[in-house]
Symmetry: C2
Subunit: 487 residues, 2 copies
């Protein structure tokens, strides 16, 4: 498809109108086909391999080395999508995707993304699209209420939890050393997080110029939770050494085991030393919507910031990370830098989102979240979360019931960490062998120096039969193949 | 819609299958409606107001204060979308959106976003979705070739140019002070950019802990281009003062006037002092695809990094910022931090995208770019760019032809800066009055201390008639209303 204009000139209105009509009808046809493609995909996905079998470079080699000189038809593009791209896709939306944190690209969110792409509106500034700033405020308000947090939390959407946490760390720097904005980061600021916290915390500290050497990895207890006593000791030690502790990052639902740091005790230490407390609940946050699991947020009301990723366990496709802070004044002070062509709004109800972070452009991500929250409702979301947690506990009981496997961590939420009572190489071989079937996708982690198998439940379509398939495959791998493992 | 599972338990396979079938059919119906909605929207958009007329808080007040307890139907959601949200949307996809940088959410990109949301695949790591890493490499390679750059450029997609430039600045820090990663930013690093460069450069320097005071705003010449002599003098002065110049950011297509910094001269200075040279071509980059405008990239081959935003002038909806660097080794050194559960790939063709930036999660943004490049082809894209540039030049000639207005900057690309030969307040009133018609949307900038009207052409649907409407409205505002302006 080519616009009806030629070199250095432009077409008359009639030609433009004709081009536009063809262009829209072309979309209508391809759009309906895409909807049917997605419906078929969602219906048949359970039968597809979860992970592709291809060699690095396979897709690069299969595609032309140069882009097309002339435009191509939607039919040709979709055909190549099916033939070349699909076999290279790892199916994160698959009911038997149990690796990392399982997630869901739900149908209401797909509709929200379609509409957002068509509008292509950009809420960098309130007036550049009031709908973006205001729907973001509304949807993050709904989610905040469901998670049982008070209305002194300001919410903003970033792309990923890594970005959210980097902003939290920048806030910590701003609170401790307001002069850093002008003069640069001070080399004696220190940050504390558990040895089980996500790597993005360390990366955030590096990015903002705090330095990896100033990140303290606080030891954890036997259940992989930050030891508050060890935190206090490390902070006191750094203060005595003339350093300036400025930030603690507690994790509610760690990546390896979903362990939950003792936020109330950590908050007390943060308060004593006037440190910014950031809570990383990127995965686990949605569980706070379920009354019997709300306890995971005990003490969070004392934190300065919190990240929850709807693109993990809240039915929203990547990317949508919800960042909340009780100190939007500090976030704004750290990042506001209004250029002349974007005068600040004077109205206190008109938030200019560009003032609250690194990215200037602000996509209409709130629309997909609004679709999700409305379509499923609080009860629908609670049902899904309860179902995932119940399946994880039932799987844990299976692991506990026999002599061949051991469970390596408690199962407070929807992830089970277990291992075959054998060598690390045997456990790695089990994962490889199980994943090679294409039926399921498991990932591993290291705990207490040992290779551990992780089962993460989080997809809307996942049934108990899907989970049982893991158990069967794992047991089969042990029973029939253990002697043939290639180490 | 609610999953077929109840409190603390989960449904049998048959109930799940039934739920899933209803869920998919529900999507199919709503998806077809959404496609027709988008087709209608694109057909009728030209008749809609470009900017909404609403008061801050209007949408917040119109929506429920709490999210729904029970799920709602797609019909109910779409009805509220039409009734409440659409009137709050600034129509960035409108043919008469001439503010900031005009852009296009094109139809192939909408299809790409639909499919990406449905797959919900995440390319943080090569093996977590080979298609993401490889299609990103392929599409950025095509775009690189079209812009006439050699194959020593590594490309990666981030969300916005602000994020891309922040990564460039972090690379500059890494190259100058490799110890910064561990020990934190050194307070004597300095960065240079023109007084006309985008605010995101200053923000990036603040974010990485370099400090606002270490950002030098190099003066510009009469055509708003960085003065290379002034740059050299500032650098020498800082070196003499014991500071460490580490980064120069040149702009190819500044935000106010699309002026083009003299990259070859700037590159020579950067090379002399071993500084990282980043080129911000977020808006203008695509023009390099057109042979007669390729000159804007003269000297870019000597830069260390470059940002081009397909979500500005390349038919791609927000967000998609293409970041290129000839030193991916330094980018990786600055940001790689591989946690245990994500072992590095050994294969040199398997890039783990998480190693090249702050965000860990990596959305399948390349899919929409692939759709765009294939559907329009190089020639289609060239035609659009030529048409926009030709219309801008023709509008500039209109401005030049009469006595009432003056053009304030050259028009190398698709933006015209002009002003009524009156006071700043009169020019502001003209913009307000013209925008209040809802027919067009113009923004302003400040040049040489004066308020300037900006006309930015960049939407695929824009015709000469659309541009002429601006001219008519602006002249009408001056002719018939100048005496009634409320200052």
């Amino acid at each position: 498809m080519q616009p009806s204009s030629d070199s250095g000139n432009f077409a008359p209105a009639a030609a433009q109108a004709e081009f536009w009509q063809r262009y829209v009808e072309d979309f209508r046809k391809a759009g309906h086909e895409a909807v049917d493609w997605i419906a078929k995909y969602l219906s048949e996905l359970s039968d597809c391999p979860v992970v592709p079998s291809m060699k690095p470079g396979g897709l690069v080699d299969a595609l032309p080395a140069s882009g097309p000189v002339q435009g191509e038809s939607f039919d040709a593009i979709l055909a190549d999508f099916n033939r070349l791209i699909m076999p290279a896709v790892t199916q994160w939306n698959h009911p038997r995707f149990f690796a990392y944190f399982a997630c869901t690209g739900s149908t209401p969110a797909i509709l929200g993304e379609m509409l957002a792409a068509a509008l292509n509106t950009n809420g960098l500034h309130w007036k550049t699209s009031p709908a973006v700033a205001e729907l973001e405020q509304v949807t993050l308000g709904w989610l905040r209420q469901w998670m049982g947090l008070a209305d002194d939390w300001f919410g903003i959407i970033y792309d990923t939890a890594s970005t959210s946490s980097m902003h939290a760390i920048a806030c910590a720097r701003e609170m401790a050393t307001p002069e850093a904005r002008v003069n640069g980061s001070h080399p004696n600021l220190t940050l504390y997080t558990s040895a089980q916290s996500h790597s993005s915390i360390e990366k955030g500290a590096i990015a903002v110029g705090m330095g990896q050497a100033n990140v303290r990895k606080v030891p954890v207890d036997a259940e992989f939770r930050m030891r508050a006593g060890a935190l206090a000791a490390l902070v006191e030690q750094d203060v005595a050494a003339g350093l300036r502790p400025c930030c603690v990052v507690a994790t509610v639902g760690t990546t390896s085991t979903t362990s939950i740091d003792p936020v109330p005790q950590i908050a007390a230490i943060a308060e004593k030393h006037n440190m910014w407390l950031h809570v990383d609940a990127a995965y686990a946050g949605p569980a706070a919507i379920v009354p019997e699991h709300r306890y995971i947020f005990d003490g969070v009301e004392r934190a300065h910031s919190l990240v929850v990723n709807p693109h993990k366990w809240l039915l929203t496709p990547i990317d949508l990370s919800a960042f909340y802070t009780r100190r939007p004044d500090i976030l704004r002070r750290a990042f506001s830098l209004v250029p002349e062509y974007l005068h600040p709004q004077q109205d206190p109800r008109a938030h200019d989102l560009m003032d609250y972070g690194v990215p200037l452009g602000h996509r209409f991500r709130a629309l997909k979240l609004w679709y999700v929250l409305r379509y499923f409702g609080q009860e629908g979301i609670q049902q899904m979360l309860r179902s995932h947690i119940a399946m994880a506990k039932k799987f844990a009981a299976l692991v506990d019931s026999g002599p061949e496997f051991e469970r390596v961590a408690p199962v407070p939420l929807s992830v089970v960490c277990f291992r075959y009572k054998g060598t690390d190489d045997e456990n790695k071989a089990i994962i490889e062998s199980v994943n090679a079937t294409g039926r399921v996708f498991l990932s591993h982690t290291m705990l207490n120096g040992q290779v551990v198998i992780r089962l993460a439940i989080g997809n809307l379509a996942t049934t108990w039969e899907d989970v049982m398939e893991v158990w069967t495959l794992v047991k089969d791998a042990v029973k029939s193949k253990i002697s043939n493992f290639k180490f």
